[in-house]
């Protein structure tokens, strides 16, 4: 089809305007704030130039939160890739009931995050949680453990809970990629004597490239943005072990009321994410062949 420049833009225009307004105006406000030292919302502070940036970049809180965010993204990526592929490959293997399972596996994604929090707070409770009592019953634990009590345990529990929420959704998207692979390729490879590990590595995986590209990009950004699950369960603790950058921004703005500092953090974070996205798209974007 020939290109329809003016009409094409007209159709895209309303959404582009909506999104740009709600992203660019706030970013501009944040940038302006980051150059002042505003503390309480509504007051005007003194112009301090790039002071906020210099101060923040050296702060151990910022470095700690950045590292936590990095571990958070990596932990979630590993855990979700494993779970999502397990679900997708299982459902893709046509067993009786696989359609029903495909429909309902997404339950953990469609319920409110607050409900996810309620579920796992109850299941993982140290005093009466079912997981603790099962682990004690089968002899893996001697006494009930607090899944959110030590820094490492809290971090890992949160990664698992977040992966529980997201992997079924990712699995369905991977499934869409699997469905678009030509079945005959598997039959042909079988004739040539390929086993299912080889099939996965040389047929399944390469054919999922464009799906994995979107998941890699959007998934990383979405993982980074997770706030409510962490905030509602650990509030960033114990001893800041689960304070990722989003939590630090929230804390700085709404519990410490350092608005300019929070704005500075937002600008730095936006810059980092933008940089990541550009690099990711430049290096990983699948070639168009239409």
């Amino acid at each position: 089809m020939k290109k329809n420049n003016i009409e094409g833009w007209l159709f895209v225009f309303p959404l582009v305007i909506w999104i740009s307004l709600i992203i660019l105006v706030p970013i501009y406000i944040a940038f302006e704030l980051s150059l002042f030292n505003v503390k309480i919302i509504g007051t005007s502070g003194k112009f301090v130039g790039i002071d906020n940036y210099i101060k923040l970049l050296g702060k151990s809180k910022f470095i700690n939160a950045s590292l936590n965010s990095l571990y958070w993204i990596i932990g979630n990526a590993i855990c979700q890739t494993f779970l999502a592929f397990t679900i997708a490959l299982t459902i893709n293997y046509k067993f009786p009931g696989n359609k029903i399972m495909a429909n309902w596996i997404i339950l953990s994604f469609i319920i409110p995050t607050v409900v996810v929090v309620v579920i796992w707070k109850l299941m993982l409770s140290s005093s009466s949680g079912v997981i603790n009592s099962v682990l004690i019953d089968i002899g893996l634990l001697d006494e009930a453990t607090g899944f959110f009590s030590s820094p490492n345990k809290a971090f890992m529990s949160l990664v698992l809970i977040n992966s529980w929420r997201w992997s079924p959704f990712l699995a369905l998207i991977i499934l869409s990629g699997l469905n678009s692979i030509n079945r005959e390729m598997y039959d042909a490879s079988k004739v040539d004597g390929a086993n299912f590990v080889q099939q996965f590595l040389f047929i399944t995986f390469p054919n999922l490239k464009s799906v994995l590209f979107v998941l890699g990009l959007v998934g990383t950004l979405l993982s980074f943005n997770i706030f409510d699950i962490i905030w509602l369960i650990t509030k960033g603790g114990p001893s800041s072990a689960t304070t990722t950058l989003p939590l630090l921004i929230y804390e700085t703005a709404f519990t410490k009321f350092r608005i300019s500092q929070a704005a500075t953090l937002s600008i730095i974070t936006s810059f980092l994410l933008l940089l990541f996205s550009i690099l990711f798209i430049k290096s990983m974007a699948p070639k168009e062949d239409d």
């Binding site: 329809n4 009409e7 094409g8 159709f11 895209v12 309303p14 959404l15 582009v16 909506w18 999104i19 709600i22 992203i23 970013i27 406000i29 397990t86 293997y93 429909n103 309902w104 953990s108 994604f109 469609i110 319920i111 409110p112 995050t113 607050v114 409900v115 929090v117 309620v118 579920i119 796992w120 707070k121 005093s127 009466s128 079912v130 009592s133 079924p168 369905l172 998207i173 499934l175 869409s176 086993n195 464009s210 799906v211 979107v214 990009l217 959007v218 950004l221 979405l222 943005n225 706030f227 409510d228 509602l232 989003p246 921004i249 703005a253 608005i259 704005a263 933008l274 996205s277 168009e288």
Partner: protein, 276 residues
């Protein structure tokens, strides 16, 4: 050959068991627990089959709390966000994938990247902006934000459906003298209906589950949404588990009901569109 099939079968059964245990058992657990007496919920010895049955928690939440106010707010915000998101994203997806203009790749990737900006990064400046233009404490504040969260991915989901519609159908209609409006309303929208259904569910879910902005932009009790109302109970020092669990079940019920009726469109929308 037989040996490989056996290995496959063992793998399949193991992963099925794992999936059911991890992804379905928790739902069984909170639903049954919401009918248990407070003593059984916090008992240290737990049994899979509930030992008690009571409706006291549901009684309390339905007739002795602000549940219906929160429900009404959540429904208004989610439906409005969904409808606006659909209109904007169907229009944008049509422009991007059917009309193909100069710069369409740039817009397509930029939309995906906008996932970088929502979330807490925008929280402070949006709060200040909305305070300035008097939008705090209004449904519209939440709708504006929800549309922003839902549409980028909605456009991407619609792509697969629009690509499946052969250009020849459209071209034939134009030759017969149909206008752009007729083509969109009589050909594109009906043919992409499963896609539009699945995108609607996606947009609804995004708004229904949103917590962060709803907790900051709304302070009046009469405008709070369900997730914020529930989170208020989670945060209490002495958690009333029965109350909380029945609230959690009820807050999930609307999305689950929608899913019972049109969920298969959502799932097939995600899985059967050939994403190329």
């Amino acid at each position: 050959m037989i040996k490989e099939n056996n290995i496959k079968l063992i793998f399949l059964s193991l992963s099925l068991l794992l999936i059911i245990l991890i992804f379905f058992f928790p739902f069984f657990w909170i639903i049954t627990s919401s009918f248990k007496t407070p003593e059984e919920i916090i008992a240290t010895s737990t049994t899979i089959i509930p030992r008690s049955f009571t409706l006291e928690h549901y009684n309390k939440i339905l007739f002795n709390s602000d549940f219906f106010i929160y429900l009404k707010n959540s429904l208004i915000v989610s439906f409005s966000s969904m409808i606006i998101s659909i209109i904007l994203s169907v229009s944008a997806a049509y422009g991007l994938h059917k009309l193909k203009f100069y710069g369409n790749k740039f817009v397509e990737y930029s939309l995906l990247v906008t996932y970088a900006f929502p979330g807490v990064i925008l929280l402070v400046p949006i709060y200040l902006l909305f305070a300035k233009v008097n939008l705090l404490n209004s449904y519209f504040a939440l709708i504006i934000v929800n549309v922003l969260f839902a549409t980028p991915f909605a456009v991407w989901m619609l792509k697969a459906f629009f690509m499946l519609i052969p250009n020849e159908i459209e071209e034939a209609a134009y030759i017969d003298g149909a206008s752009r409006y007729i083509v969109i309303s009589r050909i594109i929208v009906p043919l992409a209906a499963p896609g539009i259904a699945s995108v609607s569910i996606f947009c609804f879910i995004i708004s229904w589950t949103e917590y962060l902005f709803a907790s900051i932009l709304i302070s009046g009790d009469d405008l709070k949404t369900l997730p914020v109302g529930l989170a208020g109970i989670v945060g209490q020092y002495q958690i009333d588990w029965g109350f909380l669990l029945s609230g959690a079940v009820l807050a999930s019920l609307p999305v689950i009901l929608i899913f019972v009726f049109i969920g298969r469109y959502f799932v097939s929308g995600l899985t059967e569109g050939s994403v190329k």
